[in-house]
């Protein structure tokens, strides 16, 4: 439990909390961005540099922007009159707490089983990743490419203005 880890963890969790608790939706989106950044730094701490930079590029650079756009397009900046939390929101809280409890318990249970020694930091080069992508993981790559294409087209169609009904 290094100091860096604690700071980064605190940052990420704070960002996440802010993302779900704030009233203003845009603030939530920005907090989300902070959470993403925290996570990217955590990846870097874990010697997964490629994953970290991919996180920054994709999540902060695309997803967060996308979320902001969506908020703006749906007039989410206006605060709703009934409050931001849904009915029976304590129930949801309890359920989330339950989930955390279970996960935490699982983790703490298996402390003995998990590997103790920390091996040397792996050196991962982009070449290795490239080779892996084109070699061992070529099929998932192609499928993901297909998926992205479909998602792209789908998103466009779904969000498109409908034609007016023929007169």
């Amino acid at each position: 439990m290094t100091f860096v880890f604690c700071v980064l963890a605190a940052l990420t969790l704070a960002g996440g909390l802010a993302a779900v608790l704030l009233k203003n939706t845009v603030h939530c989106a920005l907090a989300l961005t902070v959470a993403f950044a925290g996570l990217a730094l955590l990846y870097l701490d874990l010697d997964a540099q490629f994953a970290g930079f991919a996180q920054i590029l994709v999540y902060i650079g695309a997803v967060a922007i996308l979320v902001v756009f969506a908020i703006l397009l749906t007039k989410g900046s206006e605060t709703p009159k009934d409050g931001v939390y849904s009915r029976n929101w304590p129930v949801g809280l309890v359920i989330a707490a339950g989930v955390f409890a279970v996960l935490g318990w699982a983790v703490l249970q298996s402390v003995n089983v998990l590997p103790h020694e920390t091996g040397p930091a792996p050196t991962v080069t982009v070449l290795q990743i490239g080779n892996a992508l084109m070699g061992r993981y070529v099929l998932p790559l192609e499928i993901v490419a297909l998926l992205l294409t479909a998602a792209l087209i789908g998103a466009v169609i779904v969000a498109m203005h409908e034609k007016e009904s023929a007169k």
Binding site: M1, T2, F5, T12, L13, G16, A19, V20, T25, A29, L32, F36, L42, Y43, L46, D47, A48, F50, A51, V58, Y59, A62, V63, L66, V67, F69, A70, T74, G83, Y85, S86, W89, V91, G92, L93, I95, A96, V99, F100, L103, G104, V107, V111, L114, P115, T118, G119, A121, P122, Q128, I129, L133, P140, V144, L147, G154, A155, V158, A159, H161
Partner: protein, 103 residues
């Protein structure tokens, strides 16, 4: 408490936070935000296990996480497109008001 355990707990906490948000906020977009947080927590889990697992040179964990990021991005796009489309029809993103599937 090994480093791995710390990372796993953080990931679990982040996951729970994301779930809480998805379950308690009214706005549909905030639900999607919560979902993104959950996905990210899972990614963290994967990277942590890759780093402290038996064969980090196999790159399995990293690859998994990268693909997950890609898919999450696609999913966010489609999801937000849906929300926008619903907003166009119902003029609201309030989930409590959307109960036309009531049985």
């Amino acid at each position: 408490m090994t480093p791995l355990t710390g990372y796993l707990l953080v990931a679990a906490l982040l996951f729970a936070i994301g779930l809480a948000g998805a379950l308690t906020r009214r706005n549909a977009i905030l639900v999607l935000i919560g979902i993104e947080l959950m996905l990210n927590a899972a990614n963290l889990n994967l990277i942590a296990f890759w780093r402290y697992g038996p064969h980090p040179e196999a790159l399995t964990g990293m690859m998994f996480a990268i693909f997950s990021i890609a898919v999450a991005a696609a999913e966010a796009a489609v999801g937000l497109g849906l929300v926008i489309s619903i907003h166009r029809h119902a003029h609201t993103t309030d989930l409590d008001a959307m109960n036309r599937m009531k049985g």
